[in-house]
Each structure stands twice: as C-alpha cells, then as structure tokens.
C-alpha cells in the first residue's frame, strides 16, 4: 500500500522532484500501469474547469475620500455593488446588470454588460467609472463622488465566490415548441440541442468525489492566480445518488473560493452574456489533488465514460421544479457532440470550456513542477454527511 503525507509531497515539490500529471493524463497511466505502480510514482494530479459561475463577485474596500464619505450606493460603470456593510466597503456581484439595462422587457434581452464584465475589465487593467452617493452624516459628510479608477487605485479587492465548481450539472434540453433562453444557453425547440456545463474527467470535484483532500484552506488556481477554498459552497448537497465509483449522478458538492483579485488575469475571469437570461462570469479554477494513497489515485483516474449527468427539460421540469429527468448520459457521449434522448439524436454543446480546463490543469501542473506552488492541507474537508447540511426548499 502506498501512503504519502502532504509534508512528503511538498518536500518533493520544493526539491523540484514531484511527479505531477493532469487528471486527463492519469487515466491512461492507471490503465497501463495499474493503481499501485502509478500511486508510487505520481505525487499530484491537477484538475481544471473554466465555465460560467454565476455565484461569483468581488469584495472591495475603495479607500476613504477627503472629506470622508459613507458610500450608500456604489456603481462601477453603472453596475451597482452591494454596500450594506462598512463605509467604503462594497460587494460587486457577477450577475448584477446596470439599472439602465432593459433586461427582458424586449425579449430576449441581450445583457451585454454587467458585474462579470466590470470584474474582467478591472483585472485587465482598464479604468472604470466609480460613482457613489451618500445621505451624509456628521462623521461622513461627503454626498457624491464620480471618478475614473483602475484596480491599482483600489486598496483592497478580493474575489469571493460563494458557489463555484459544481460537482456535476444538468444536461439542459427543451421539449417545448418554442426556443428557450436560459442560463444553460439557447435551447432550440423539440430537442434541438442539449447543453451541458462541466469539464467532466478534468473537473475538480469529479476527481475527489468524497472530498478526501479538498476543504477549507486548500490552495488552488483561481482566475489565473492563487486562491483558496474558503468553505463548502451554497447548495453544497453531497447526499445525492452516486455511481459505484462514488461519482454523484446529479448536481452535488460546490465550493466557496477566495483569492486576491490583483494577482489574477482577465484570461481566466471573463464577463459573459446569456441571451434572454443575464450576465455571468466565467471563472477558471484548478485544484491539485495530492496522491496520498491508492484510493485517492483511483478517484482521479475516473474517465468521461464513467461520469453521468441527468438530462433535464428546461421547458417544464426545471422551471417548475418537478425533479423529473429524461435519463442519464455519460460525459463521453456529451463530448462526442451527439447524444440520444429517447429515439432522437440530439447535438450537444458545452458552456464550460474543455480546452480552457485542459490548459488550467497544465498551468497548475507546471507551477507545481517548478516548485512555485506548494499544496496545503485543508483545515477540515468539505462536509460529506447531510446531517450538517439543510437542503430544504423555500416553499
């Protein structure tokens, strides 16, 4: 039996001797050499995902003006940030749209700009218009502010995403006779297409299905820089049905992640627009998985043929929350470009970039191989038992 510790793996990384492979590369290694031999060789498996992750945003501290101002409302290029916290703190959410956006009044709305785009522009070094208003107080008399600012002018900017890197997700189809405009993209009528959104065998939580190595404090690739897992994400729901390999058969675990925005890159934080739905942010995340034993390696060797997602009708079952599915389909079938639903052949499209996920896993691999990125042992791993998690609906 192979047993390794975080300390042993980090010592090898520091010495530049760690063997690091991506979650794609490890599949054929295990097939050829078996679990024991591969576990003895490989120290770290890197994963990646690059998809729209709506539950994302940035905490800012904007710095104080002279005279001081308690910023009651704050806008970045017309996109409002939440200010119900201290004087010059604000949280800009990825899906926020400008007040002037007509939204879906002329259906389907275009949603060309929003919080995700502001975040991308700030990270790319562009200036944005900061507008703030206040009611004025004795200690914070200033009432109005308009200023062009760049990320370099802002004292504190931390990306904090309450729900990212979903462990599995629905395959969205449309059984109705009209086109649907959803957060899963455009769904053509009568099973015109099937859209899905995870990176399958490369996706972080598919490679550690029981969260043996991922938890609070796990150091990760986040938006092109370094970040950490902060907590389990909103809607983290590990108690779903799982396959024999432990992989959830429907949306399950999620991550809350955090990192300094100033060291990230607009290559891996991209504002995106969904026709008729809204705006979002594509976030690049990569998580290294330490091969502490053969069982962990076995999980990382999972392939697209062994990962299944539920097919859900977005004309009825999803919006009405009926929980009905039209069956399961493997990520290998999804990635082939065509699946079969009933007796119909349906073309598939991803919303999450597999090429991007592959690149992230490779970048993270290089960072670790060069000794620039050490692994961190989580303070505690993500909750696995439903006892700690309440997942009831509202009504």
């Amino acid at each position: 039996m192979v047993k390794k510790t975080y300390e042993e793996i980090n010592a090898k990384i520091r010495a530049g001797k760690a063997v690091v492979v991506t979650a794609e590369e490890v599949i054929s290694m295990v097939r050829e050499k078996g679990l024991e031999e591969t576990a003895a060789t490989v120290d770290v498996v890197t994963t990646g995902t690059f998809g729209p992750m709506c539950s994302s945003g940035v905490f800012f501290n904007l710095g104080h003006t002279k005279p001081r101002m308690r910023m009651t409302r704050v806008f970045f290029n017309g996109v409002e940030a939440y200010t119900g916290i201290a004087a010059v703190d604000a949280y800009l959410g990825a899906t926020q749209i400008p007040e002037t956006d007509p939204a879906n009044k002329a259906f389907p709305g275009e949603f060309n700009y929003g919080g995700g785009h502001v975040i991308e522009e700030l990270v790319s070094g562009k200036e944005v218009l900061l507008e703030a208003v206040s009611y004025g107080t004795d200690c914070y008399p200033r009432k109005k502010l308009e200023k062009m600012i760049s990320l370099a002018d802002i004292p504190y900017a931390v990306l904090f995403n309450p729900r990212n890197a979903y462990q599995n997700y629905n395959v969205a189809v449309n059984l109705s006779d009209r086109t649907l405009y959803t957060y899963m993209g455009i769904l053509k009528p009568n099973l015109g297409n099937a859209n899905y959104s995870t990176s399958g065998q490369l996706s972080p939580l598919f490679n550690d299905p029981f969260y043996r190595t991922i938890g609070m404090g796990t150091k990760i690739f986040l938006g092109g820089g370094v970040g950490y897992v902060a907590w389990h994400g909103t809607q983290h729901h590990p108690d779903v049905e799982r396959g024999e390999n432990g992989v959830p058969l429907s949306p399950a675990g999620t991550l809350a992640v955090i990192g300094d925005l100033k060291q990230m890159s607009s290559r891996w934080l991209r504002g995106v627009s969904f026709l008729g739905y809204g705006v979002s942010l594509m976030v690049g995340i990569g998580i290294p998985i330490p091969i502490l034993d053969e069982e962990i390696l076995k999980y990382t060797a999972v392939s697209d043929e062994e990962i299944f997602a539920p097919i859900v009708d977005y004309s009825e079952a999803y919006p009405q929350g009926t929980g009905e599915t039209l069956g399961q389909v493997s990520y290998a079938q999804l990635r082939s470009g065509e699946i079969t639903v009933g007796d119909r052949k349906v073309p598939t499209a991803p919303l999450s970039s597999y090429a991007g996920a592959r690149e992230i896993a490779s970048i993270l691999k290089e960072w670790i191989k060069k000794g620039e990125f050490l692994l961190s042992k989580p303070v505690f791993t993500l909750p696995l038992s439903g006892e700690k998690i309440d997942y009831k609906g509202l009504i």
């Binding site: 729209p52 995106v272 470009g337 073309p347 499209a349 991803p350 919303l351 970039s353 090429a355």
Partner: protein, 134 residues
C-alpha cells in the same frame, strides 16, 4: 461561378430596383440571403450571385456605377479569437456548420466560407467573440 457578396445601398439609391436588372440584363441568378433598410434609409443586403464570370463582373460594375458599394462576404462576420473561450455554445446554434467545436481538441473553429451571415452567433456567443463588420 457563384459568390456571396455584401451590397451597401446609399440612401439616394435605396428605392431603385437592382435585382431585376441583374437578372434580366446580366443573366445572373440572385439569391437574397439577408436584406434590410435602416432608419437613415441606407440599405444592406447579403446576396449570393451565380452566373458566367463575365456576366458577374459586368453585373457588379453596373451596381457600382449606380453608387452601390460591393464588399466580399468574408469581411462580414468576424471571429475575434482572443475573445473566444472555446466553450462551444455557438456550435449548436450555427445553422451552416461554419462554427464547429473541433474534436478531440475541443476548440472552436470558424469556417467563414460556410457562413451565411444569419448573425445568430452574435448573441448566442456568451463572450461576444463574433462580430459583424462591413
């Protein structure tokens, strides 16, 4: 020969007939793929013209002599590669097979010779990597 071109009609010629003459005087087959007139009365059309090469050249000369500007079609829809995240959402929306998610690379490729300028991709692309240019 057969070629797709973009025709721009300045306001002063928007109301004149052109398709009729291309067919009758120049023996060309004209397939209008898309046409619109904006509030400033400028017209824009994407047409596929087929016929003998000399007729084609003469027909286009006729259009240009009347003030119509002719542009090659490939200038119309542009794939801004640096904005493309290679997600592939466009691949099931493009009806012409011009936007393809290549496998196994899983990277998007734009075959502009197949593009019919329907412009569905412009709004279907989440990162707005497709642009219409004239």
């Amino acid at each position: 020969m057969k070629q797709k071109v973009v025709l721009y009609f300045p306001p002063n010629v928007t109301e004149q007939p052109f398709t009729y003459y291309l067919i009758k005087d120049y023996n060309l087959m004209v397939n209008i793929l898309k046409a619109n007139i904006n509030p400033r009365k400028e017209g824009r059309a994407v047409v596929e013209i087929s016929g003998e090469k000399k007729d084609f050249t003469a027909g286009l000369d006729f259009l240009q002599s009347r003030g119509v500007k002719v542009f090659p079609l490939e200038q119309e829809i542009v794939w801004v590669e640096e904005r493309c995240t290679h997600c592939g959402a466009c691949s099931v929306i493009c009806p012409a097979g011009a936007l393809v998610l290549e496998r196994p690379e899983m990277k998007v490729k734009f075959y502009n010779e197949k593009c019919v300028v329907c412009e569905l991709c412009l709004k279907a692309c989440p990162s707005r990597a497709m642009e219409a240019r004239y």
